[in-house]
Amino acid sequence: MDKREKLLEQLTGVNSSKLNYYVELKKTTEEALKQNSRLEILHQLTRDINIDMSMQDILDRTFAKLPQALPCTFMGIIVLKDGRLRLQAVTPRDYCRVEEFPDDSPTWQVIRSKQATIFNAGRDSSAHVWHNPAYPEQLSSFAIAPMFERAEVIGGMVVGRSLEAPFSEGELKFIHHLADQMAISILNARLYKQVSRTTTQWEETFKAVTDPIFLVDLDYNVLRHNGRLTPEISPYWQQALSRKCFTKFHGHDQPCKDCPLSEVKRTGNPVQRKAQTDSGRLLEAAYYPVFNEENTLAAVTIILKDVTAKTKLEAQVVHSAKLAALGEMAAGVAHELNSPMTVVIGTSQMLARDFAADSIEAESLQDIINSGLRCKGIIKNLLSFARQDLAPMIPTDLNSEVRKVLGLIRYQINREQIRILDRLDPKLPLVDANGPQIQQVLTNLLVNARDALNDSGRSKKMITVSSLTRQIDGEPRAVISVNDNGTGIKTEDLNRIFTPFFTSKESSKGTGLGLSVSLGIAESHAGTIEVTSNFGQGSTFSLILPILPDNSRPEEVMNIV
C-alpha cells in the first residue's frame, strides 16, 4: 500500500513541477561561467609558464592557480619512459612518493586506454603510493588524464582531492584540457632547451676560436662576430659608428679597393688573402661564402689568422733546407779541395827546405804555404758553417766567431771598396752559443751592411764591427754590433724588417729571410737583435746575448786571418 500511495503521490505530483527554462538557463549560465573561468586559467597558464621552466616549476605554478577552477589537494606528473612510469613531479613537493607503478594501477589503466578517468580513492587504487602523513586528510577521489606528444602518450597528469565532492565529468574535461596544456608546455620547454643548447654550443665553439671570426652580409654589414679582434682592428672597431665592415675594420667610409667580398660574390668560392699590417704582423684572411635555403649567397664568413709566427717558422724551415743542401755541397767541395791543398802545402814545404831561408824562392814558397794554409782555414770554416745545426751550444768566444766570419768574407767586402774596421773588446765574456749560427747571423748583418753601402753610392764606405759588454736591465750582455754608413732604413719599415720575406732588395739579390732567421737564432740564444737607423745616414744592428756566469777568458785563439 505504501508503494501504491507513493505512486499516487508521484502521479498527481504535488512535489513535481513543469521544468522551467529559467532554472535551466541559470544552470547553463553558471556552467558557462565556470567554464569561462577555467578557460581563463588555461589561458593564464599558457602565458605564465615560461619556456625555460622545469617540469616541477610548471606544476607548482599550475597548482597555485588551480583552486579557482578546480579545487584539489595535490597534483602530479607521471612520465612514461622506456616502458616505465615514474612520478616526475608532485605538488606539494613532499605529498607522496611512488617507487613502482603496478600493472593494474590507475595510471597504467589511463595510459593504456588513453582516456582521462576519475577514480575513487582507496586502498585498492593507491596501495603503491606512499602518502606523507603530514597531509592527514584522506583523498576522496582522483583523476588521471593522459598527456600526449602528437598521438603518443608520454605520461599522465594526476589530480586528487580530499574534502570536496568527487570530480565531475565537467571537471574531468577540464583536467583533460589542462593535461594537454601541460604536455604542450613541457614539450615547449624541452624543445627550447634543445634549441638553446645547440645555439650555445655553436656560440661557444666560435668564441673558443682565438682568431677573429666575422659574419658579414653582402652589404658589408657585420652581423655577428666571436668577440676576438686584432690589435689593428680594435681601435677602429671601438670608434665605428656604423656596422659596415670597412668602417669597423679599417675606419674607412666606403668599401676597400679590391674588396675580397666582391670576388666571393662573383665566384661563389672561398677567397684567401694575405696581408701585412703596419706593425709587421702577417695576417691571413679567409672569406667563406654563406648560402641561404634558396642556395643563394647571403653572407660571408671572414676568418682572420695571425700567421706571423707560422711564417717565421716556415722561413726557418726553408732556410734550413737551403743550408742543408749547401752543407752537403760544402762538405763535398771541402773534401775534394783538402787533398790537393795538402799536396800543395806539403810539396811547397819540402821544396822550401831545399832553399836558403832568405832566398827569394823560399820567400815565394812560404807565400804558397801561407795561402794554402789560409785556404784550409777557409775550407774548415765553410764546413763548420754548413753544419751549424749539428754544432752544440758551448761556451764560445764571440770575438773568435767574428774573426772567422771576417776571414771568410772580408775579401769579398773589401773588393767593393768598403773598409772594415774591427773594434773587438778582448775582455768580452764567453757566451753559451752555437758558433756556426752566430757566424750566420754576423754574415747576414755584414752582407746587409755591404748592400746598404753599395746602394748609397757613398765614396767613403765603412763597416765597423764592434764587440763590447753592455748593461741591459741590470744584467751584463755581450754585444756584437755591425755599423755601416749606408742608406739607412725608413722609419715605417723599421718594424717590418724582421718579417719573413720582407725585403727592400731586388728579388735576385735578397730572399727576405736573412733578418727574420737571424732574429730567430738570436731568440733561440735567449738574446735579441737591436737596430738603430737613420735614413740616409746608416744603420747599426746589434746582436745581444746573455753572458755565461763563469766569466773566464779562454786562451788566445789563433788568428787565422
Binding site: L11, S16, L19
Partner: protein, 382 residues
Amino acid sequence: MNISKFVTPEIIFGCGSLSQIGGSALRLGATKVFVVSDAGVIKAGWVDIAIDYLRQAGLESETFSALTTNPKDNEVDEGLAQYLQSGCDAIIAVGGGSPTDVAKSVAILATNGGELQQYEGINHIVRPLPPMIMVPTTAGAGSEVSQFTIIVDTARKLKMSIISKSLVPDIAIVDPELLRTKDRLLAAATGVDALTHGIESYVSLAATPLTDIHALNAMRLISANLRRAVDNRDDIEANTNMAMASLSAGIAFSNAILGATHAMTHQVDGLLDHHHGETNASILPHVMEFNLSTNPHKFAIIANALGKDTRGLDSSAAAAQSIEAVNQILEDVGLAKGLAEFGIKEEMINSLSKNALNDACLVTNPREASLEEIEAIFRRAL
C-alpha cells in the same frame, strides 16, 4: 489525500481560435516551428491553414506527418531526426492524440536526449522541453492538456506511459471547427475515449473537487451531444460541446489520472493497433462493474450525469444505472463490440493482464485488482 495539485496549460477555446496559433507561437519565443500532424488532418486542410497563420506571424515551419494511430517509438525517432536537422525551436501538433503524443515525445528527446524508454514512468524527464502548442482535431484524446504521452514500444509490443508535468503543453488551442472533418467512426471512438476519461478520472483515487467538476462537465456534455455529433458531422453546436467535453475530460484525467480501463486498453492497443476509443468501449463497462462497489455514490452521480434518473433507487441499483447509461451510448454510436471482434483471443489474456498490472493507470483505480481479476475482466470483455 489532503494536498492536491491541479495543472492545465493556457487554453484558447472557440470557433476560429486556430487563427491564434501564430501569435501564440511568437509569444513562446519560436522562430521556426516544427508542425506534427498526420495524413488525414493534412488532407482535411487544417495543416495548410495553420502554416498560413504561422507564416502571417512571420514564422517558418517544417511539417512531420510520418506517423500512424497508436504512434510507435520508431516514428518518434524519425520525427526527432527531422526536428534536430530542421533547426526548429518550437513544436506544434495539429491532430488527434497520435500527432500530439508524437510531438511531446520528440520534445522529450530533443532536450533530454537518449531513448524514449529511459523516460517511461513518472517524472524521469530532467530538462525543460521546447515550447509546445497543441491543436486537437478530435474530441477525445485530451492529450493537448494532459501530462501524458503514450507511445508503442515496438520491441515489447506495449504502450509506454510517460508521465511528467513537463509534458503539459504550454498552450492548447481548441477550435471546434476542426472537429467537422473527422469521420463518423472516429467521432464515435474519440467521443467514447473522452467519456472513459471522464468516468475513470471521476472515480480515480486521485480525484479532487477541482477534477470532479471537469469530469462531471465532460460526462454531461457527452451524454447530451455525442449522439448528435456522430449523426451529424456538421452540427457545430454538438461539435463545440464535444470539444469542450473532451477538454474537460482531459483536464480531469491529467490531474486525477485514470484507472483499470486505460491500464488494460493500453495493452490491447500495443498489441493490435486498433483505435483506442473502440477498445475503451469494449472494456469500460466491465471495469465499471468491477469498481462499482467501491464508491456506489459516485457511480450514481455518473448515472445522473449521463441522464439517468436514479430517484428512489437504492445506492447499488443507482450505481448500476451508470453502466446501463454507458452501454446505451455505446449502442447508439455503434461501438458496443466485444474485444474478440478486434482479434483478442483467450490465450492472449494472460500476458495482456500481466502488462496491465504494471501500467501506471492502475495505481489510481478505485479497487485494487489482482492478475486473476484483470484476466476475468478481459474474459468478460471478449
